[in-house]
Assembly symmetry: C2
């Protein structure tokens, strides 16, 4: 009984997610679902990414339990920013994203960044209608997270190893991350980057542009 | 209907939590529920705390989706370590802790550290039967997390601002954390500490010893 409830909720979510994806494809929008622990640097990365993608236009859907702090940081950079407050919810749902899409003029947008709630467990189970899943892991979080959260890393289309400028002061070795990813997800490229120093940003931007072209062909 | 299901699950959890608390009080054990984002340094802190508390004896229940890495790090330091794998669950439940307690010889233990799943949302809603709630926030996660996750910080009995040795290289200001805590939870003391440099550890150990005495009086 309990499992049936969960399954029907997930099935309903998936149906809405498919409709979200169709809407964005009709408008030529590439949608990216950014997932990570709190404080891995999702907003800081978008602050650097969005101006660098210009003249291509970006919009952001920001998921948070409360507060509009991330949306405030991004307003002025992105063409449009919509905050989605989840209350006590530990992830965005496809229905919340659908409501968020209603607030955007999709035909004016090239990239839609969906900044999920900072959480390494719940977001991984919910398709939002994105085209690509971006998982961030900050070197400050330690090197053991890939093995601990395989449900997050397994479906990732790219893994961003953020705050790489801290690796030296932390004595951080990336080896365990690569070893664990070889077990869990050998498909996704890994980009080591720092929003602060700028290291790796060009590789990330190139990846984004490639994805938009690849998806654009199927629209 | 859906809300009723959730409420009855939470009520059942609370009943088991009360029984857990009663069992631990009978055995003279102080139980602490450690909650934070992934990678805030819960295990690193316990690696320093447990030997420093000797001759008082500590046990650990470690919650994780999978892997026994944290338990492996702590075995040999604590009197007893039990790993609880939650699968896809984003928090420990009182029932899982109850099963964990069955594996421990409670009469040999002074402190029980329950290391919750790394997550700033789900664990806050579930009483495990602990006596004190310890919330960790790493300076590497940024200074905006108290306002973003008030359900975690509001019921905290102590807030540990970890990795404080990184504050200088990060240009981190603690002011926003203190300002936000004044709104959300002005009751809990804040201890700035670093498991790496040792800063703040004495204050944390003193707090732990005080709590055990305070709770011991009511047993």
């Amino acid at each position: 009984m309990k499992i049936n409830v969960v399954e029907s909720v997930l099935k309903a979510n998936d149906a809405v997610a498919r409709e979200n994806r169709r809407r964005m494809e009709s408008a030529g929008v590439l949608a990216l679902n950014l997932m990570s622990a709190p404080g891995s640097g999702k907003t800081a990365l978008l602050e650097k990414t969005i101006p660098a993608l210009a003249p291509q236009r970006s919009a952001v859907l920001v998921g948070d339990l409360q507060t509009t702090r991330d949306a405030e940081r991004l307003s002025g950079l992105a063409a449009e920013v919509t905050q989605i407050n989840t209350g006590r919810g530990c992830h965005l749902s496809a229905t919340e994203v659908s409501d968020g899409l209603d607030s955007l003029r999709l035909e004016h947008i090239d990239f839609l960044f969906i900044e999920n709630v900072g959480n390494m467990v719940c977001p991984a189970a919910h398709d939002l209608g994105e085209h690509r899943r971006v998982v961030l892991l900050s070197v400050a979080e330690g090197d053991d997270k890939v093995a601990k959260y395989p449900t997050l890393f397994r479906p990732a289309d790219v893994v961003l190893l953020t705050k790489i400028d801290l690796a030296e002061v932390l004595g951080y070795s990336t080896r365990r991350v690569y070893d664990d990813l070889a077990q869990v997800n050998s498909r996704a490229p890994v980009i080591e980057l720092s929003a602060r120093s700028g290291e790796g940003l060009e590789a990330w931007l190139a990846w984004l542009r490639e994805q938009r072209q690849a998806v654009g062909k199927t629209v």
